[in-house]
């Protein structure tokens, strides 16, 4: 019973099997004044919550365009008198380097763990061996651990292995700890490939790698889109590992942003502009690839 979330992703992940459009079945008594009142209340609530959820976005945008003089309590919630872009310039100056470094971190981390996850998912769902379920459960556990529990030895091991602090060590760390979620997503995704296809390949004498490369990999693109988006977002937004393995000079944008925003003299305009700049890539992914983003969320419903 508890596996709903894990099982539930298949139709969403592959994107083709869209949910059947359930026509809204009208409960008895869905016409008349009472129903109209219920509908009005429902939309009123939906709109109210939309406004509430968007309040922080409004504050970010408005404050980022205020000049230093305008950031006063009296006009805290007002639109800027004159739209001043100097906050954005200051934020860009402080963040542009770390923004570039974050791309250098996110792209390899997302690609590598997706490739490994695809191979694992294939083996665990379609080319199984004895004990595959146990192995899968042990892999899954890695997704839930509080990383604080491994952090101190990890610092020592990464230093011993000679990884340079900053982006190189963070790439390695995110690949490793991204493996469980990527494996989970691909395993559930491949479960929707009919077993007969694999069996007939076996009968035709195709080995494991042949089957993987010629049958499984060609239909894997949606799975890759989901894992890459997932890894992209969670690595981009990571702060914990970044704090332990990098500094403002060599770290990703979350570190840069926190240094910008936590300064003694609070530059609200630049902080808010910086928060928007740092969130722009993941927000763009969300807006453009929303459907797959949600697919990843459902699959990754087990990652924090």
């Amino acid at each position: 019973m508890t596996t709903t979330v894990l099982e539930d992703i298949k139709p969403r992940v592959d994107g083709k099997a869209k949910k059947p459009k359930t026509k809204p079945v009208r409960p008895p008594g869905s016409k008349g004044p009472r129903a109209a009142a219920v509908r009005t209340i429902r939309y009123a609530l939906l709109l109210f919550f939309t406004v509430v959820v968007l309040i922080p976005a409004y504050v970010l945008l408005v404050t980022s365009f205020k000049s230093g003089a305008e950031v006063s309590p009296d006009t805290a919630w007002a639109l800027p008198e004159n739209w001043d872009t100097s906050g954005w310039e200051r934020a860009w100056e402080r963040l542009s380097d770390s923004l570039g470094r974050t791309f250098l971190l996110v792209v390899p981390a997302a690609l590598l763990s997706s490739v490994l996850g695809s191979m694992n998912g294939f083996v665990l769902s379609k080319w199984r061996f004895r004990g595959a379920d146990l192995v899968f459960t042990l892999i899954l556990f890695g997704m839930f651990i509080p990383y604080q529990a491994v952090m101190i030895p990890l610092v020592e091991v990464i230093d011993t292995m000679g990884f340079e602090r900053g982006i190189p060590s963070l790439i390695f760390i995110h690949v490793v700890y991204g493996l469980p979620i990527c494996t989970l997503i691909f395993r559930n995704y491949y479960a929707s490939i009919p077993t007969e296809v694999i069996e007939s390949a076996k009968v035709d004498g195709a080995g494991m790698l042949r089957t993987y490369f010629s049958i499984v990999l060609p239909v894997s693109i949606p799975g890759f889109v989901v894992t890459i988006i997932w890894q992209f977002t969670s690595v981009w937004n990571d702060y914990l590992f970044a704090m332990f393995f990098s500094s403002a000079q060599n770290g990703p944008v979350t570190i840069g942003l926190n240094f910008l925003a936590a300064g003694q003299l609070q530059d609200y305009a630049a902080s808010m502009a910086g928060a928007l700049i740092a969130s722009a890539p993941t927000l763009l992914v969300y807006i453009i690839l929303g459907r797959w983003f949600v697919g990843g969320l459902m699959a990754g419903s087990v990652k924090g």
Binding site: M1, T2, T3, V5, L6, D8, T22, P24, V25, P28, R42, L45, L46, F49, T50, L54, P56, L60, P73, A76, W77, M119, F122, F129, D133, V135, T137, L138, I139, F141, G142, F144, I145, P146, Q148, V150, I152, P153, L154, V155, T183, L209, W236, Y239, L240, M243, F244, T254, N258, M272, A275, A278, S279, L283, F293, V294, L297, M298, S301, G304
Partner: protein
């Protein structure tokens, strides 16, 4: 024998890189972390083991005990809040509303933003100044005539941590909504129709048909949000900063011990967190495993 290797060998070889990496970096390092917590490790320099002394020190340390109390309160508020709003929104949208896609997208968008970025704006919103100096939410409350609700937010020693749960709820409720919506849509339409044919009222329909079907979703949501919440770190660093007393949690305590060189105690905090999370996760994983076996 040979055929067994032939059927066993290739798949295990293909998955071997992952098994080695996770074997070392999850299980090996958990072991190493527990070991470190039993030593006198200072910045990586160890002279010997000290038994459970680090744990004794932690539990005799008022700040650490306070941080445990804080994370418990935070978890309660975070789980309750996301379940409440997540369910409410899913329920409002469940039977299809005009513009459903837009509402869903808006409710879900905070999930795409990092805690650090949202922390920037929430620190401003949760500014504790009142009266003339009030900005943020205090100002807004004043403007709409709810001035009496103005608060100290996260600077309050007793309840401050609950203010940190506000941005967390804001960020994850949409996600819980997505879970519940998927749950609602997974319920076969025939079930509802059958209940209606049997003359069930709308409330009875929910009480006896829909809620039981949704309880696994609710359980998943509790586990996911609960284990996230125990690890809370980013949001507190961004909203209140690492040294603020009223918002100390094990995550920030661990970071402070690390930066001050007390690595053994930092590892002990990590182990305590792992134990708490394991109580939540291990039964979940075992039941998942059993369900897989039955298939």
């Amino acid at each position: 024998m040979f055929t067994r290797i032939r059927s066993w060998g290739p798949p295990v070889l293909l998955i071997a890189p992952t098994l080695i990496l996770l074997g070392i970096f999850v299980y090996g390092l958990i072991g190493a972390g527990v070991w470190t917590s039993l030593t006198d490790n200072v910045r990586g320099q160890t002279t010997g083991t000290v038994g459970l002394e680090n744990y004794e020190n932690l539990f005799n340390d008022d700040t650490f005990v306070y941080s445990l109390r804080n994370v418990a309160m935070y978890t309660g508020a975070f789980v309750a809040g996301t379940l409440f709003f997540g369910f409410l929104w899913a329920w409002l949208l469940e039977r299809g509303a005009r513009g459903e896609g837009i509402f869903r997208a808006v409710y879900l968008f905070p999930m795409a933003v990092s805690f650090v970025a949202s922390g920037v704006v929430w620190r401003w919103l949760l500014n504790s100044n009142t009266g003339e100096q009030a900005s943020g939410l205090n100002r807004l409350l004043d403007m709409v005539g709810l001035g009496f609700l103005q608060g100290q937010w996260w600077t309050h020693e007793g309840w401050g941590i609950l203010a940190i749960a506000m941005p967390a709820i804001w960020q994850l409720s949409g996600y819980v909504m997505a879970l519940f919506l998927a749950g609602f849509r997974g319920i076969p339409e025939e079930l509802r129709e059958a209940a209606r044919v049997d003359g069930a009222t709308e409330w009875q329909l929910y009480r006896h048909v829909l809620f039981p079907q949704l309880s696994p979703v609710a359980l998943s949501a509790v586990i996911i949000i609960g284990h996230m919440s125990l690890k809370v770190f980013d949001l507190i660093m961004a909203v209140a900063g690492q040294t603020n007393y009223t918002t100390q949690v094990p995550g920030t305590q661990m970071w402070l011990k690390y930066t001050s060189g007390e690595w053994a105690e930092a590892a002990a905090i990590g182990t305590v967190l792992l134990l708490v999370v394991a109580v939540l996760i291990v039964p979940y994983l075992i039941s998942t495993y059993r369900a897989e076996r039955r298939r």
